[in-house]
Symmetry: C2
Subunit: 385 residues, 2 copies
């Protein structure tokens, strides 16, 4: 017991001193108590094994939880949706100070079902329909209302990354323009997770894609990879400065010019890309990686009927039913999307909270410095007791 | 006859030498044969009295024809719609070289009706439903299909300026947001002809307006004028640099923030104005007087549901029936809009074509230099014969 107290002595008093020593300290969460630089404000806490779930609730353990760019923004306090503060991560066990558990996405597995829970059983894979549910934790008790069961034929990584990027791509491709086989779509940031999903979903329907990426040392290699994924053409933003480029794309798309431009970059290059579009086209933005505003030629809006929209998958979830979400996941599962390039980072059971916290801060610091070229998936093990 | 030949000796051979001397040269048009600076390429030509209109046609004389900014762009060749070339301004009288007659708007009066023309009689006031009909002329023969009869209770100036600016304002206010009494609309370029129509139409429905104008020596006077016209608030773009400004506007609009921003300026100030908008708002652009692209905050598009559209009244006309156009003009006539500030420029009958051409070039030169603060209305008299 001495060892245990010492291992958890660095919780900054987040764990109530009233927890009886006989309670097994068995779960772990990454938390923050106030917004700020994730490389400074994140900590981990350990909390007691969950009691049996109450009526209409289930206990879950999280198998994998991605670190998405928006999670970083949530911790910084610059994202419009925020997790609710929790003063208890394990029912009956109150924390001294409310904490926020980040993580908007993740694959959970049901470990125990409460009374009156129908259609779900131990071992089922689920995701959480609730926004900002706090997936950077090893186990939680969740209302059955917030649980969406996944199709059975998904890989663990595809299941853990199914709620944000693929639905963003899928919905943007069906909401704004009625795309038919042979139609063209233009996108920037084509190497992003959403971009790769756009390429694959389009290709599965015979929709052709004109993809833009940043020029980089291995541009040709990346072009090859995206082409293998189904991209029809891959260009760099540099091509947009070449006047003859527009002519060659016009020849390519002929009398069926693109009417959909999917944007996660913004800035002046996006305005140039609108020159590739036909009449009554739509620019749909889901990000602004350039950190610059979206710039659009007013003339194209007035005379060519160009319209600009944003797309936020969080809003899609709040305006669509559980049945619609399940139907969407079933559609996405059928597509057998290639797993995003990823690196799994384990917060191992043998780490103290202090060590685990330091590891998390180190990861987000590296992400912030752009040192990960791939998606980081957190695997948070229950701490040793 | 000698005098007449000499007066029309500077037509650059546009008038056919085959016109018999006995034909009375009785009408006049402003024309150009190739695109370029209007202060250089415009000429006037004189052509014979119109014969009686054929079946399903009417003869009209133009009473007043505005010079709109888009007319200048048409002559420069930078506007997407163009007049058709005419090789005959008077049926049966062919020109050596086809000419373009500018002018998209104007009040015409029927002077003679052809066989089978119903519902129209001599003296009726009409406008032309056809785009780029060439209103900078004194008389033309027009197919009855292209004629829309005006309500009887319009002033001459309001009738001559009814087809472009008021329908732009009216349609933008009804197409994108279902505005109710007490709702707010934001606009820039509030002193433009469309801007003033927006103020008046909004006020007539109890819709409140937040109006932006450029700072100028007589700002306070202009604010007073727009307020008298019905503007709820008038600000300058300078106010947008003041952080407390946004708070004060938020207090003003309370829990009913504006959801419509009407833009004819573009550039970075328009992006700042979007901060005044509530969720699910629409930016509708009908001009870009700053000659800069439209800049929008991508975050507002993604997280606040901001959408951006263009509006072009020419497209509205091509997609709406004659009945819908007449209904719109009837609605606009009821509003008794204040006449736009204007100056009427007469191309008097006593001028030679050379003199008339020089006068037109001088006017458009002054317009190009921004020396007219008001709308110029051309009144083209038939030349003396």
């Amino acid at each position: 017991m001495f060892r245990q107290l010492s291992r958890h002595a660095n919780l900054n008093n987040l764990t109530s001193p009233s927890v009886p020593r006989s309670v097994r300290l068995a779960h772990r969460a990454v938390v923050f108590t106030e917004n700020g630089d994730p490389a400074s404000v994140l900590k981990t806490v350990t909390y007691p094994t969950l009691p049996a779930p109450p009526r209409d609730n289930v206990n879950v353990r999280f198998r994998i939880s991605p670190i998405n760019p928006s999670d970083i923004n949530v911790i910084e306090g610059v994202y419009p949706s925020k997790p609710a503060p929790s003063d208890s991560l394990s029912p009956g066990h109150k924390l001294h100070q409310p904490v926020y558990v980040p993580g908007n996405e993740g694959l959970a597995e049901i470990t125990e079902v409460g009374e009156n829970v129908k259609g779900l059983k131990k071992g089922d894979w689920v995701v959480l329909a609730k926004q900002q549910p706090g997936t950077w934790s090893s186990a939680r008790t969740i209302s059955v209302e917030d649980v969406v069961k996944l199709p059975v034929d998904l890989s663990e990584v595809n299941a853990a990354t199914i709620t944000v990027n693929p639905p963003t791509a899928y919905n943007m491709l069906r909401t704004f323009v009625d795309l038919k086989e042979g139609d063209w779509v233009v996108q920037n940031g084509a190497n992003s997770a959403v971009g790769q999903a756009i390429i694959q979903i389009s290709a599965s329907r015979g929709v052709k894609t004109i993809n833009f990426i940043r020029s980089r040392p291995d541009t040709e290699n990346l072009k090859k990879q995206l082409t293998e994924l189904g991209a029809t053409r891959v260009y760099t933003y540099d091509d947009l400065s070449d006047k003859s480029f527009y002519k060659s794309v016009k020849e390519l798309t002929g009398d069926n010019p693109p009417r959909l431009l999917l944007n996660c970059v913004s800035g002046p290059a996006t305005a140039q890309m609108t020159r590739l579009l036909g009449n009554n086209a739509h620019v749909v933005s889901y990000g602004a990686m350039s950190k610059k505003p979206l710039t659009l030629p007013t003339g194209a809006m007035i005379f060519k009927g160009l319209t600009a929209h944003g797309f936020w998958v969080t809003k899609w979830y709040t305006t669509h039913s559980r049945e619609e979400r399940e139907a969407l996941f079933a559609e996405i599962a059928k597509l057998k999307l290639r797993e995003p390039e990823h690196e799994t980072v384990v917060l191992s059971s043998s780490l103290t909270d202090e060590e685990a916290g330091e590891k998390v801060r180190e990861i987000v610091r590296k992400i912030g410095e752009g040192k990960y070229g791939k998606k980081v998936l957190l695997k948070i093990e229950d701490p040793e007791d």
